[in-house]
């Protein structure tokens, strides 16, 4: 369609507010953290250029390094455990067993409950005195397995990490979207060839849901890297910074008015995110399907 004069003016006016806000809240902030990561600044006095010293400072900081490691563990758990579980459940519910819609709703539920409320809930689950988990263990006579789950050095990270791994609804729904688009004829052909359910899943469903799975893996990795609320509310990074994440580290730097290291860790987070997204894209592009 050829654009009329009115169309041109209309497009310009319609794009303007949205693009301005995008500029203000996406592009400028990203440029800002990159630029300011080379300065020392406390938010009050003038900023002074310090080269890469913010980077060398955070990279040699053990808390920051621990945070990066935690984020990577988190991302690996999400992509290698949570997404495969979600895919499995998508395959199962795609067969439309009795009540599948109800189960889909139930699995998705944690997604609409806020991270704060979930943290509150799991704080109660993990509580050492009246918590659910220790309660179950005592009931089974396994008192010696009881822990102060969020307070002990060895259990804190697994505790903040594990509970959401089994919340698979979000990724399951995305994969189901792809699965529902696969034509019956593929399965009928496989049936005639004598392929059972498992082989049908491996050779038809999963390859044809590749895009959805790739989306889930990307989202899972990205969401793991920006993890903040759960650790902030459950442990605040403790005990002994065992559960710190990059964003929590950044937040604490900001609280201490150390904007330079805060921005440097933002940049590290963004770059790590880009690297992870690129490698996921690359991996999936090498996965040849039908």
């Amino acid at each position: 369609m050829k654009l009329s004069g009115q169309d041109r003016i209309g497009i310009a006016t319609f794009l303007l507010p949205g693009l301005l806000l995008f500029l203000l809240f996406f592009i400028i902030p990203v440029v800002y953290v990159f630029a300011l990561s080379f300065f020392k600044w406390d938010g009050l006095s003038d900023a002074s250029f310090v080269g890469i010293s913010n980077y060398s400072r955070i990279l040699s900081n053990s808390v920051f390094r621990r945070s990066v490691t935690n984020n990577l563990i988190w991302a690996l758990t999400a992509t290698l455990v949570q997404v495969p579980l979600a895919t499995l459940m998508a395959l199962i519910l795609n067969e439309k067993p009795r009540g599948w819609k109800v189960f889909r709703t139930v699995y998705y539920l944690p997604q609409v409950i806020s991270g704060v409320a979930l943290a509150m809930l799991w704080q109660a689950m993990y509580n050492s005195e009246y918590g659910f988990l220790n309660g179950v263990l005592k009931l089974l006579g396994l008192d010696h397995l009881c822990h102060n789950w969020l307070g002990e050095l060895n259990t804190a990270l697994p505790a903040v990490l594990i509970y959401w791994v089994f919340y698979v609804g979000y990724y399951m729904v995305i994969v189901m979207g792809d699965l529902s688009g696969i034509g019956e004829e593929f399965y009928e052909a496989a049936e005639i060839d004598g392929a059972g359910k498992i082989r049908q899943a491996i050779h038809i469903s999963i390859p044809l849901a590749k895009n959805g799975i790739a989306t889930c893996v990307t989202l899972a990795a990205v969401l793991s890297l920006r993890q903040f609320e759960q650790v902030f509310l459950l442990t605040n990074g403790g005990p002994a910074n065992r559960t710190s994440t990059m964003v929590l580290y950044l937040y604490k730097q900001l609280q201490d008015l150390r904007y330079g290291p805060a921005n440097a860790s933002s940049v590290m987070l963004i770059l790590l995110g880009i690297a992870v997204i690129m490698s996921i894209r690359w991996l999936f592009s090498r996965w040849r399907t039908i």
Binding site: I11, L15, V33, L93, A117, A124, V222, V247, Y251
Partner: protein
Amino acid sequence: MTEFTLHKKRNTISSILNVLKWLLIIFFAVYTLFPLIWLVVSSLKTNTELFGSPFALPKEWQFVNYQSAIQVSGMPLMMANSIIVGLASTLINAIISCMLAYCLSRFVFKGRGFIYTLFSAGILVPLNALMVPYFVTINKLGLYNTLIGLIILYSSTGIPMSTIIISGLMDSIPHDIEEAAIIDGCGFYRRFTKIILPLSRNGIMTAATFQFITCWNEFVFANLLTSSQNVRTIQLGIRYFTNQFSTDFVSMYAATVLSIIPSVLLFVVFQNRIISGLGSGAVKG
């Protein structure tokens, strides 16, 4: 004979698979629901009951916990703040995103592909990494500790996602309708309000539902950009429950349950939109 054993073997495998399937289905359902049910039941106990027998049902259902939850937490104000922020930013976000989506979906112009790429990338930007610039910008605008600051931030950060959802739906509207309207002398703006907007109702509702739930549940920036009690949103409120209720755990749980209800209700009402929105690739950057 061999045909028969093969058949039998198949049957055993498929019944084992069937059992496994249901074990998984039930495991995930119990895992999701049980803690929530436990929270609701605990919120109706006395504190002594909670400590004494965490799994038993309460002797008498303590609905009074909910009353004290509302009184102690100052919940009505926080709910009101969250509703104001949620509705205002959903409305602003929807208007701006519809305008963007209309241009991107219905016209071919220079830079269109670039904007799509920017927005797809925007969905994946880790907003948490932008705490410092957001903090500085909102302060500079004089909007620290105001609901308006949150509204502007939420409506803006939701733009890429909403625009992509809405334009995805607009793409499916046939061009003939517009061409007929152009012949009838319908201009740029009339085509938007009279034809495209009404036909994209579903996409707009999906985007708006996502946006509202996201705003309702948002914690990080509400925590960063406000400090006083009169602008506190409900999510921030939950965080302070631990201080406010100190050892009155059951009332704290009651308050938490109350805070969850609105978004869960919204989800139950609009779940088909949310699920079809996700399934149709709204988030595929």
